[in-house]
Symmetry: C2
Subunit: 216 residues, 2 copies
């Protein structure tokens, strides 16, 4: 299809599609003339995925490039792709994220970090040593305590066990896809795009649990 | 304590404290002279909570005011507070959130919404009918399908069951506090501040589960 049809079917403007092409998020079409190119269904699917990552989940162009790059490069090795997808996207910590790579606070970070190491050891998890996700956990524990809550890594153990159940569900859903590239794309969907829905389900379940305990 | 000591102990600048006072996030101190006021330990704790909500979780001043307002107003009725906290804070959907209150797309939203109703009915959840969390779930389902994934509300049922387990844990932790205002504050911590850590735990658990299945 021509770029105009790609635009119509995806709902993404010509100018934005050209921007994604220039930025290398979308691979070039097959050139059919000096100023014309032909795009495939794969381009359409890729374009929708880009829109979901940038428009729905708020990733930057660079983060999106890293995620998509991981899929193209390691599409046949799902564990590699998952590792890169999990690492490429820092967990959303809101506006406070800029404090993450300060270099003057090495001393303060160590206690938090080693707490996370204890949690990981308790769970017996086989994971890479220093990921963004681990920093997020360390920071959360420190924030809770700065607010006077008596909160340590042991408080998170029951949540970590629930996270294990979630991960089994997540990985089970990847088995269905035959095509490895599709599996990799689906891993992105399940990891990044499902996050807001999982938090939303927790809120609804809290509301229901609260209703059960406190009223009527 | 004076404002200068409040600033020193909280790490928040005088100017920012005055801004929070003007915006009504922080209650006024006890006036001791025409231009002086005395602040208490409760002010300090409130200030730290504000910093966590705005600085760490990225809430706006208005959202923070809503959350804190719920605590002051309904501090003795935990279910009310939880309801307002859960409702006041739209679940983080990243940059795409502005599409939520468009009014021209009523037709498109209905199918997604009724899917969520089916999920809620299947779970037997007793919750208020139209919350931000339900819109997030409807939007996620639509995004997944626009990307070609075969994803409906039934796909979320196992995740909803896990969310129930999480909610039981969450509510159990609120029982410890005697002081009702402290319980309400703790509800905020558990609901909003714990979210990034729960997503981070899921990522680590996925990495571990993937390692178990794909390597060695």
């Amino acid at each position: 299809m021509r770029i105009s049809e790609l635009s119509r079917r995806s709902g993404v403007s010509n100018a934005t599609i050209k921007f994604y092409l220039r930025e290398g998020l979308l691979p070039a079409g097959r050139a059919t003339a000096a100023t014309q190119a032909e795009y495939s269904e794969q381009h359409l699917r890729r374009l929708r995925l880009i829109r979901a990552l940038i428009g729905v989940r708020g990733l930057t162009v660079q983060q999106t490039r890293d995620v998509l790059g991981a899929v193209s490069e390691y599409g046949t090795d799902l564990h590699q792709v998952l590792g890169l997808v999990l690492g490429a996207r820092p967990v959303d910590t809101g506006a406070g994220a800029e404090s993450e790579d300060g270099d003057g606070d090495g001393d303060e970070k160590e206690p938090g970090r080693s707490e996370v190491d204890e949690l990981v050891a308790e769970m017996g998890w086989e994971i890479s040593p220093h990921s963004a996700a681990q920093s997020v956990i360390a920071e959360t524990l420190e924030t809770m305590r700065s607010l006077g809550a008596d909160y340590g890594w042991r408080s998170l153990v029951p949540y970590a066990r629930i996270a294990e159940e979630t991960a089994v569900l997540d990985l089970d859903q990847l088995k269905e896809e035959e095509d490895l590239l599709e599996r990799a794309e689906r891993a992105i969907l399940l990891t990044i795009l499902l996050e807001p829905a999982l938090l939303a389900l927790r809120r609804l379940a809290q509301e229901n649990e609260s209703a059960k305990r406190h009223s009527r």
